[in-house]
Amino acid sequence: MIDFELTSEEQAVIDAAHKEAVEVIRPLSRYYDEHEHESPKDLIARSWQQQAQGGGGILGLGVGASLRILENCWGDAGLMLVAPGSGLGGAAVLTSGTQEQQAKFLKRFAEGEPKWGAMAMTEPGCGSDTAAIQTTAVLDTETNEWVLNGEKIFITGGQRSMEESDGLVVVWATVDRTAGRAGMKPFVVEAGTPGAHIDKVENKLGIRASDTATLILDNCRIPYENILGSPEVRRVDSGQTAGFKRAMATFDATRPIIAAMALGVGRASLDFVKEALEKEGIPIRYGLPRHKLTAIERDVMELEAAYKAALMLMLRAVWMMSQFQPNSLEASMAKAKAGIVVTRITQKAVEMMGPLGYSRKYLLEKWMRDGKINDIFEGTGQINMLIVARRILDYTREELK
């Protein structure tokens, strides 16, 4: 049965998240935007405690959780990303790891001090073209250890995972450069491992509360058991290979969540505009023919319609995931659309609000900077569009490059 009603539990989760966003997050928003590398320690402790009372990883997220994340990002997308937890690293362990590995690596996220998990994919020489990864993993048969060498950049939460907590980073490396995608494997590198160190933390356009780090792997030795999935390189002539497929399966789960984050920032901007208009006594008259609308009404309604379109695509992708239905196409649709929509809404909102929009006295300009990341990380809008195109055309990556 097609249904759009939230359960009372979901509604309660959303309401609580919204209240928290208004009362706790928003008052911190500007400070951590302007003090880029400082950590909101109280907020982190609070979030860690809340998670101990029953939080979850990225996988298995349902509609309620996606809407909670939307509210978190309505509060502040950067601060949302600072929340401790297993994060994308945990997602990879869950999709690719054995039961023993899950127990070993994820246990830490339910006990003790706050910890973070991250995923390291991008390198200086490759972003979206993840199969071109240069970081190597070589098995030292004498010690039965993997030896990792390479440089990973743009790791969201990398510093907090490796330096500020006993967390971990899942590093993608190749065990055979000649094998392309088939050689790509995920490895768990725990904080404190010799040979792994954070080299640089980026200064960014937005989401400044979140650290984006470079990880150097210099003869970094990790136990054999830290490889997720099989070490075997299975060459396949065309199409994707098992190891890479798992990386992509992680994206099917995370992309709708990025869409939810984008929507949170988008709605923050929309709400700001609507409140400002309401204060001036300017109503938004839904249901009027277009030629009777003022330009500003038309702008607001067009942005709201775009928001709704992206929201529906996000909910569908998340719902499919919660039903264990394959959702690659829908996840990429949601991500691509939400990236476009948040970029448009936030930029238009700055324009519409004039001096209020451009001033750092208010948060609109910050949301425009924050929102843009959603069109870039976890696959740029163009990469997601490419995935949508391949799916609807039933084309392989060779047929549509």
Binding site: Y286, R290, K308, M385, L386, I392, L393, Y395, L400
Partner: protein, 364 residues
């Protein structure tokens, strides 16, 4: 609990409509657009499927099925995927039946609903749109004035589907600043149906201008009697129907362009292998899906008898723009061939342009 999965019954209905559309509508729609005529056997076959009678209560000889705007959108999308003209023709009787079922007085139901439950297609229609650029359904220029215990209707209407054949009209008029509906029977003095209109699209659908000159209707013909009708809801039911039809038309154009792009070779490979074309198709697919889901949400709200003005308006606004951009891109993907009438994309482009104009021409 949120769900995007149609019920088993809805899926059966959708499959039935798909079969009908593939077996009948899609066989002739191109010729129908050229000739301006729809074969009567198609209308009869559609009538037998019971789109209109199914949701009329049993006490008025209907099938007594549950009335659902959501199910209506599923049907409207599939029919319009087949052909917009035929979809509008087939569903035209709803323009009267739905408002009477939902808002009519007992008398009005008793008098009119059984006539929608016969063996033959019932030609009934509604007159809402007026021939002016600043048409606004909420402030009509056609007026209804009280006169000797009845109403005098005066004004000009256009885009009235099937008016020449209809024996029952629901005429919308401005009564003291509010839009109300009036049931007008064929042959009422002052009701004049003009020549058939010639439009850019929906060419197989017979539409007419209509004029009302001191057209007198009895007081009991006011839709809903003294209480009147909830015109806002009627308009929302219409917006939802038209949005669903826009999705159907756009999907038809998208599928054709997608298949063409995979077959058409240029520079040694299918044009779909180039991102310029592939990305256009991806964006089309995304916007079609988004519009469908927004339409479902608005229809779902209407089924709960909640005010859905915001949802229906946003869905319709999005659908109007989407229909144009998708059908335009479909023509573009075919290039010169898209401009030639041997291919149907130009038909969908002409039909797609109409959605911003078609207020009140379909209802779920």
């Amino acid at each position: 609990m949120i769900s995007f999965s149609p019920s088993e019954e809805q899926q059966m209905i959708v499959n039935m409509v798909k079969e009908f559309v593939n077996d009948h509508v899609r066989k002739v729609y191109r010729e129908c657009d050229e000739s301006g005529e729809i074969p009567s056997n198609i209308i009869d076959t559609a009538w037998d499927l019971g789109f209109i009678t199914s949701s009329i209560p049993e006490e008025f000889q209907g099938l007594g099925g549950e009335r659902s705007a959501l199910t209506g959108t599923l049907i409207a999308e599939e029919l319009a995927w087949g052909d917009l003209s035929m979809a509008m023709h087939i569903l035209c009787p709803s323009l009267v039946a739905t408002p009477v079922v939902e808002m009519g007085t007992d008398e009005q139901k008793k008098q009119h609903l059984p006539s929608f439950c016969g063996d033959k297609f019932k030609a009934a229609t509604a007159a809402l749109i007026e021939p002016r650029f600043d048409f606004d359904p909420a402030s009509l220029q056609t007026t209804a004035r009280r006169d000797n215990g009845g109403y005098l209707l005066n004004g000009e209407k256009c885009y009235v589907p099937l008016a020449a054949d209809a024996d029952l009209f629901l005429v919308y008029a401005n009564e003291g600043g509010n839009t109300q509906g009036f049931i007008v029977e064929k042959g009422t003095p002052g009701l004049e149906v003009a020549e058939r209109e010639k439009n850019m699209g929906i060419k197989a659908l017979a539409t007419y201008e209509l004029s009302l000159k001191d057209c007198k209707v009895p007081r009991e013909n006011r839709l809903g009697g003294d209480a009147g009708c909830d015109f806002g809801r009627i308009l929302n039911l219409s917006k939802v129907a038209l949005s669903a039809m826009a999705v159907g038309v756009a999907r038809a154009a998208f599928e054709y362009a997608r298949d063409y792009a995979k077959e058409r070779h240029a520079f040694g490979e299918p044009i779909a292998s180039r991102q310029a074309i592939a990305f256009m198709l991806a964006e089309m697919a995304i916007d079609i899906d988004a519009t469908r889901l927004m339409t479902w949400e608005a229809a779902w709200k209407l089924d709960r008898n909640e005010n859905a003005t915001k949802e229906a308006s946003l869905a319709k606004m999005y659908a109007d723009d989407m229909a144009i951009s998708v059908t335009n891109n479909a023509v573009q993907v075919l290039g010169g061939h898209g401009y030639i009438r041997d291919h149907p994309v130009e038909l969908w482009f002409r039909n797609g342009r109409g959605f911003a104009t078609f207020d009140g021409m379909a209802i779920v």
